[in-house]
């Protein structure tokens, strides 16, 4: 299968009065169509910056990003976010507060005729099991429901690539696990390619076909979940995976009331 997404040794960062400050250096990865990738790392490691660069909100200072064989970001090229056919689910969901759930999902479907649009909205809300909430405003929905609306909205225009920024961090433990599997099922059923960013290892292992461990602006390893666990590239990755595992077990123990 051809790689849908290519990141070729990209450099990300920003200008300060003292000069350029790099946030992400020399990062390279590729993801075949229909796969779910995940960038895993603690906060501040630059994983969200990578996501924003793929979406077109951060310029690439060196290297390039290509989607479906076309360069969308490089030092010379910067395709506008709205022309990338990239969807994104935001950490805060970013639902438009003045629009109902249905109107939110319809937002990206302006080119469709009215009837087609209504059908697509219904289809997407069905997909996430929220048909009944079509006329509710975001503030009338629970966190889990908001998240599903955000997913339906991002998928409605059928983007080539879906980005998920810490999609489950605002949910409680039970909902989080349940939704992680649900999201994976939805993405696999619709054949979408996606990149997820998280600091939670359980989420990453539950959802992803490829996982990249990031630390200090570097991608330490980009591999399958199996290889990551059993053949870590270096001590840092091994430590990170183990530490996260322990934290996860402890969290689950607490959740069980131990």
């Amino acid at each position: 299968m051809a790689d849908l997404l290519e990141l070729d040794r990209i450099l990300l960062g920003y200008d300060t009065p003292q000069g350029f400050k790099a946030v992400v250096r020399d990062l390279a990865l590729s993801l075949p169509a229909g796969h779910i990738g995940c960038l895993l790392g603690s906060s501040g490691c630059g994983k969200t910056t990578v996501l924003r660069a793929i979406a077109g909100f951060e310029p690439v200072r060196a290297g390039h990003i290509a989607l479906d064989g076309t360069i969308i970001s490089s030092p010379e090229v910067q395709v506008a976010p709205e022309r990338r056919r990239v969807g994104m689910m935001f950490q805060d969901y970013a639902l438009f507060p003045h629009l109902t759930a249905g109107q939110n999902v319809a937002f990206g479907l302006r080119r469709l005729a009215r009837a087609e649009r209504a059908a697509r909205v219904a289809e997407m809300l069905d997909l996430v099991g929220l048909r009944v909430a079509a006329d509710s405003y975001p503030h009338e929905l629970s966190g889990g429901q908001q998240q599903r609306v955000a997913l339906a909205r991002a998928l409605a225009p059928s983007p080539d690539l879906l980005l998920l920024d810490e999609p489950f961090s605002n949910l409680d433990v039970d909902t989080r696990e349940h939704l992680a599997f649900e999201v994976r099922d939805i993405l696999k059923a619709t054949g979408h390619t996606a990149i997820l960013v998280t600091h939670n290892q359980a989420e990453a292992f539950a959802i992803a076909d490829r996982i990249g461990v990031m630390a200090g602006g570097h991608l330490a390893q980009w591999d399958t979940p199996y290889n990551l666990r059993h053949h870590p590239a270096d001590e840092a990755v091994r430590d990170f995976v183990r530490r996260e595992e322990l934290a996860e077990q402890r969290e689950q123990a607490y959740a069980r009331g131990a």
Partner: protein
Amino acid sequence: MHTTTLPRALRPRQAERGTGWLAGAALIALAVLAPLAALGWWALHADLAHWAHLAANVLPYALSNTVTLLLGVGIVVTLLGTGAAWLVTAYDFPSRRVLTWALLLPLAVPTYIIAFAYLDLLHPIGPVQTALRAVLGYDSPRQFRLPDLRSIYGAIFVLGFVLYPYVYLSTRVMFMTQAASLLEAARTLGAGRAGVFLRVALPLARPAIAVGVSLALLETLNDIGASEFLGVQTLTVSVYTTWITRSDLAGAAQIALAMLALVVGLILLERHGRKRQRYANTQRMRPMQAQRLRGPAAVLAAALGWIPVLLGFVAPALYLLAETAKRLHLVGGVSDQLLAGLGNTLVLAACATVATVLCGLVVAWAGRTLRESARINPGRACARLASLGYAVPGTVLAIGLLTPFTLIDHALADLFDLNRLVLMGSMAALVCAYTLRFLAISAGGIESGLARIPPSLEQASRLLGETAGGTLRRVHLPLLRPALAASALLVFVDAMKELPATLLLRPMNFDTLATWLYAEAARGTYEEGAVAALAIVAAGLLPVILLARTHLKIGH
């Protein structure tokens, strides 16, 4: 880790477009800079002896007066505005609901009208002092009189009590929309109500306070009527007299440039304070629970809350009403010229409001940050430049605009073979001047409205295929409606009150209520002046009531 190389022949997709907003903002910024450039040109073409004379004789005195006035008014409006906003947000007491909007009433009273009213009210043989003497048992003003209002302290008092609503308005919105959970968190951490105010609410509201205070102080710098009536020789008054009485355009331009240094300092301070905080909170806003007060505490709270309303609005308004009633009783009607002036004022203010809000939207939108990591933002730079217009006193702006307007008028006349002046001969010049003057209100209001909309909403919209302009129309405009309404109404009120620029740029035989009042006052016929003043205040009340409505909706 593996990488792949792409064939070189692959063409990049279409590059980003949409610099139209930036171009618009740059154009507006240039329009604001044009009169300043004209002033600079005039100032540079004066001889050095001129400068030396000004530096020795005019500047030190006027500068120290102006700085004292700014400090005093700054302290008064901060205390009154923030205190009143916290009082009506954190506490519940009888009359709180009415007080919440009544605190906006002084917005309807221009500085020159309140000064004019208090001069008469507090005159040694005026009603207040006569009543005081009667109560205290004195017979003559020689035995007992209050300190003369015609002093810098009088000016601070008078300006502070009509300008505090700028701080009240911005601060109260901030108190109401702050996530109550933050304040509740502070309570659970052991802070009392006063502690919550000092340690959480006040620091969070600091940008709002800075915005309100800077608007109030810029208004103070602009004021000419009150300072003139109260005999305070400020820089603004110096500019005015230098040009009007000595026809010395170069000298006026030089003092104006000295003022601009002060103004730039103020604006930089405000922007600095604002830049340090970012409000992008998508949590559902929940107003905090007001604490119900009972007994003496409730009476005290109500009394404290009503003082600014009584002094800033009720007393001068009653005085104007009484004077007007006296006048109507004597003459039995209102002159047609006064009615024409009212019509002119409303049409002019409405046109200026539309133009100002549209320009403010362009400037604020061009200056927003889509990329959080962007350190250099040309749109933001344009917004800062465009906001300078508000800081330029009306007189100075008008003098600065004379040269560009004349050039444009001549160019238009040559081009279309006209024998009249398109700008200077119509209201267009005034609409332009008002727009440049009041752009900071609309741009600032819309900017802080935009700051409350999380950046992820725009990012989401862009990723759903919408352009920047489409995002503005479909996402931000609906969410900005309260901010737009607030800006429009503030601009409308200010355009109605505007006096100095109107005096200099109006067409022949064209009067607004403000110039009518000024002419009456200059002739010394104070009774008819009160009628015009009352009309300004009454017309200004309508936007204040509408403003109170949008304002009250927040948090209810």
